[in-house]
Symmetry: D2
Amino acid sequence: METQKHPERERFYSRIGALNMTPLWESLHTLVPREPETPCVPALWRYQDVRPWLKQSGELISAEEAVRRVLVLENPALRGQSAITQSLYAGLQLILPGEIAPSHRHVQSALRFIVDGKGAYTTVDGERTTMHPGDFIITPSWTWHDHGNEGIAGVSEPVVWLDGLDIPMLRFFDAGFAENDSSHAQQVRRPEGNSFARFGYNMAPVRHAHSSATSPIFSYPYARSREALDTLQRQEAADAWHGFKMRYINPLTGGYPMPTIATYLQLLPKGFRGKTHRATDGAVYCVVEGRGTAHIGGQQFTFEPQDIFVVPSWAPLRLDADDDAVLFSYSDRPVHDALGILREAFLED
Amino acid sequence: METQKHPERERFYSRIGALNMTPLWESLHTLVPREPETPCVPALWRYQDVRPWLKQSGELISAEEAVRRVLVLENPALRGQSAITQSLYAGLQLILPGEIAPSHRHVQSALRFIVDGKGAYTTVDGERTTMHPGDFIITPSWTWHDHGNEGIAGVSEPVVWLDGLDIPMLRFFDAGFAENDSSHAQQVRRPEGNSFARFGYNMAPVRHAHSSATSPIFSYPYARSREALDTLQRQEAADAWHGFKMRYINPLTGGYPMPTIATYLQLLPKGFRGKTHRATDGAVYCVVEGRGTAHIGGQQFTFEPQDIFVVPSWAPLRLDADDDAVLFSYSDRPVHDALGILREAFLED
Amino acid sequence: METQKHPERERFYSRIGALNMTPLWESLHTLVPREPETPCVPALWRYQDVRPWLKQSGELISAEEAVRRVLVLENPALRGQSAITQSLYAGLQLILPGEIAPSHRHVQSALRFIVDGKGAYTTVDGERTTMHPGDFIITPSWTWHDHGNEGIAGVSEPVVWLDGLDIPMLRFFDAGFAENDSSHAQQVRRPEGNSFARFGYNMAPVRHAHSSATSPIFSYPYARSREALDTLQRQEAADAWHGFKMRYINPLTGGYPMPTIATYLQLLPKGFRGKTHRATDGAVYCVVEGRGTAHIGGQQFTFEPQDIFVVPSWAPLRLDADDDAVLFSYSDRPVHDALGILREAFLED
Amino acid sequence: METQKHPERERFYSRIGALNMTPLWESLHTLVPREPETPCVPALWRYQDVRPWLKQSGELISAEEAVRRVLVLENPALRGQSAITQSLYAGLQLILPGEIAPSHRHVQSALRFIVDGKGAYTTVDGERTTMHPGDFIITPSWTWHDHGNEGIAGVSEPVVWLDGLDIPMLRFFDAGFAENDSSHAQQVRRPEGNSFARFGYNMAPVRHAHSSATSPIFSYPYARSREALDTLQRQEAADAWHGFKMRYINPLTGGYPMPTIATYLQLLPKGFRGKTHRATDGAVYCVVEGRGTAHIGGQQFTFEPQDIFVVPSWAPLRLDADDDAVLFSYSDRPVHDALGILREAFLED
């Protein structure tokens, strides 16, 4: 619509602007687009590039002073927003031996995916979990949580994990609350592994009343998840788009482990050349094992273990693997489901 | 945190910025605030001020050229975003006698609340509904819909309604798709009132398979809704915060009529002086009957019929009524529910 | 299996019988039949035949002495079990002017469908409802309820209704509890029509917490239900099996009004000659308007207003109407749904 | 009510009896009892007593001739009904080395709990599972299944398991259908363990569409379940009524593994002296490990491994353990839940 031909319209727009009004007809096509036109772009962070800066951050500030010593991964097209997609946040957190990241809670849901090192722990709601590379750990909305690094089996080393949160969503919906704990490290009230024993074995205690929308299992150990993928790889043909892709579930509902974030673990067998898939949920990937290439909307990103990359909403994604590759990923799919707005396409290339 | 004292940190930030990274510890308190700090502000649009501009828009552009001849109500603090809250859109649409707003469909869910005039219709999925002031009408996600104004009972007059949509949400989640119909006005395939007869009487046809997340009733006539409020006013005491406030429901689920938008009709009896309520969902109000005052976060807005006002997320709201007042409102509460992030407080003043 | 040839087996059966054991192989074919073989038979009770006995029961015993003055309709093949199908109960209750059927409550869910006369009321949980012919009224599980007959608009006459309950189900699952009220007629605490105003208009009060599995509307007036059928008859073609058949719904769930009993109202247009339908739920029908014929499993039953007939599980049913006929019916379908055992067939004759 | 004093009533009852009617007031108190009065009685089957007869049944009839070579455990008060409670069936099935129990399917849901021996398998829907003592295996409603005994690791021995089914329920609701397979043993189409790999690890394949009401895991191995109990025993205090009692769940819903039957595994620590519990669901117990005493409604039953006992609806149950005892049990609780009729009481003795 060529507005320069309509000076009387321009005058009208200016006058109604004073009343905080604008004409829909000038922006309808961008407000209601024929298909999603995300500002978000694909990007990959090489762990080899990032690691030295993480190390240096450990010298720059203590975990306690920082509260959370995290380097936020910002989408190159969304700088200044602390967002890796429009709705999701990603960061790499470092905790050094002997440090504590103090206890707090917030409405934001968080996941931790262990990238490097061992000997750290997360305490959630009175139960401590030791973190191993590949473990997927949840700190549910409004739950007290703190982290520490006391070493394990005589080993004491820096530990790095990927933090995935719904911070931009909570900001968009203006619903974030937060609180610091009175003590830095909350008291441990239940033995390690208790939640998993209660809910991780396809059973549940008869007399529990679980009202949370978040999974009662807050640690999904890599050893178990990897075993499932290994069995499927031996027994089944790979999906042409996804390889062997599993969704983590909340065993009390069969749904997503968190109400705002979906999480996945997927194995691409050596030599896999995937077909193209696209979906409205944007996703963040973290490489656990193997090397390969992600083709995202016309760009190529080679990946190796510990790298992180982001796939914007509706961007075509094609995955190739040189070795058996294992990828963890998370996205805002639960919201797309709940709002009835999920669309996805499996393309025949 | 006073960063000016840490030049080495500033240098660090600059260097990691080149890798699209930022330090969380500098922004943690704003990213994870103690309580919501919405950029959105309260505002009221007086229909007496808006009406002349609506009339003038009818002379400026035709409904067909505009596709939808709407003056968008923009939150004063969110200018340029076509948003009345961060997640919701509001606009006033005018359709003149004889005009047609052509058929299209989009993933965005829309509600129409009739503000002024009669004789227009909305056609949804092959069924036409005549619009009367106070009627609440839905055009569900991805459903063909068009509007026209053929007059009724010999009366032919301009008709104005409030459009409420989830446009900002769909933009945030990058999930909007849209399509124009091949013909301007879709073919009417079912008689008027058919959906209401099938689903509006606390009954449902035995052999229907309704898979939509949206209510199968797409018109909730004001005559019926007002009757319910009238009965309650005669039978019960008013709620000290809300007066008599009813939630429109999807009769097949008991839930909200749309997956992204909640709608309400509420009666404040003459002389009502409400207590203060606040909630994380932001809301848009349209006055149907009566005069009164909305106290929103320290500001006062007197209202009269056809006025529209917006209450930001977590803003304290207190409502007073000079006459029996009836208010329609809509908010993004279904999303707050689905994401497990709703918080509300009923304050004793 | 011809057991007479196996005397050693007979001896074995006798010996294990002493240990409360029996051989499955002798009864497998009857325990796990190829298709349902219900003991229940079709039957019809002509109201003209029943009415004199109802009248006489009014002389024989008072409502108060009887607690509930009901003639139970027993399936002819299930005599002595107070059952009209294996899982459902039906009875005709008479209440004379001035009488009271005292307040009690029980786990059994009950429906009342008004057959004859006016001026009686049911009080449920503190709210009284006046009963008119064709009204469908619920007394939910474990809810105090009593009945009376005070006349209406100067008219004082005997009132008869059909009682439908899940008594045999509760007996089968051994889960029935009951309690008598300390006073005969419970105190009325809410005005008539209050529940309907709160939940009957496709709206619900914002601040209610309804935790019951039963509909919050406990009276579905015939005037409203009939209007829906009338509209559908004018607007749509009749279903070849069911005519115009509507399921009463719980507006807070879209499901059945009671967790154990489904209820329906159906209009067969004059001259309707239905196709044959069968389903695993057994059903009880009460004729409201019109005359016709029910073909049930090879038997014919002509019906007229106020007659009651029973259709056993899996019996083929075909309905013909001489006039516009309206039938109310109830069945145990919610249980078949919940247990995943519903099967139905729409036959082309 | 002393009917002998009312000869005119007796005449009335006789006359209405001819119309298949009876007076409610003569039976109201038994139809709607103050609390459940089940005809079912407690009973225990000592495996030492039963085993010789099972062995003899193996000589009396082949698995193939019997189709299922099962000794049905009948409640002593329900003889002739093939029922261990009013709604549940129990039987002990024997399969000898080399035998096949041919493939069929039925609406009835079945569980198998392995009691004695190893080397047998169940094939469900194309996937074979090897059976070990303590494993809980499901053959879902309307799913092809067959059993065989080919031995394992060079061992070839008779195998006995407990069959739990909902046969009486299906008979009561007249909804049973059954079909024999065209071939005796269905073709194996998926490797052993495939269902467990897909759904047993708190994950699920992203592209599956599971529409069944039954768990997609059909084998819950004892080794895993026992490990969970062992962990809880080391970490927590025992529940005063139940010890450590876990409910098997359907990981896609968090609900019961079958829509009609709940299943449990429970550990009573050595020396446990339980408090009294009662519930409306009737239950069948099978002892896996340890010795102890079940106090059921005033009767005492000492138990040892492989014994089976039945607890009627609403019977008070108190459990004592001499050793660490492990009990498997199943009940009709899902139906009590779905119908809204469950009641239970935890008594302080």
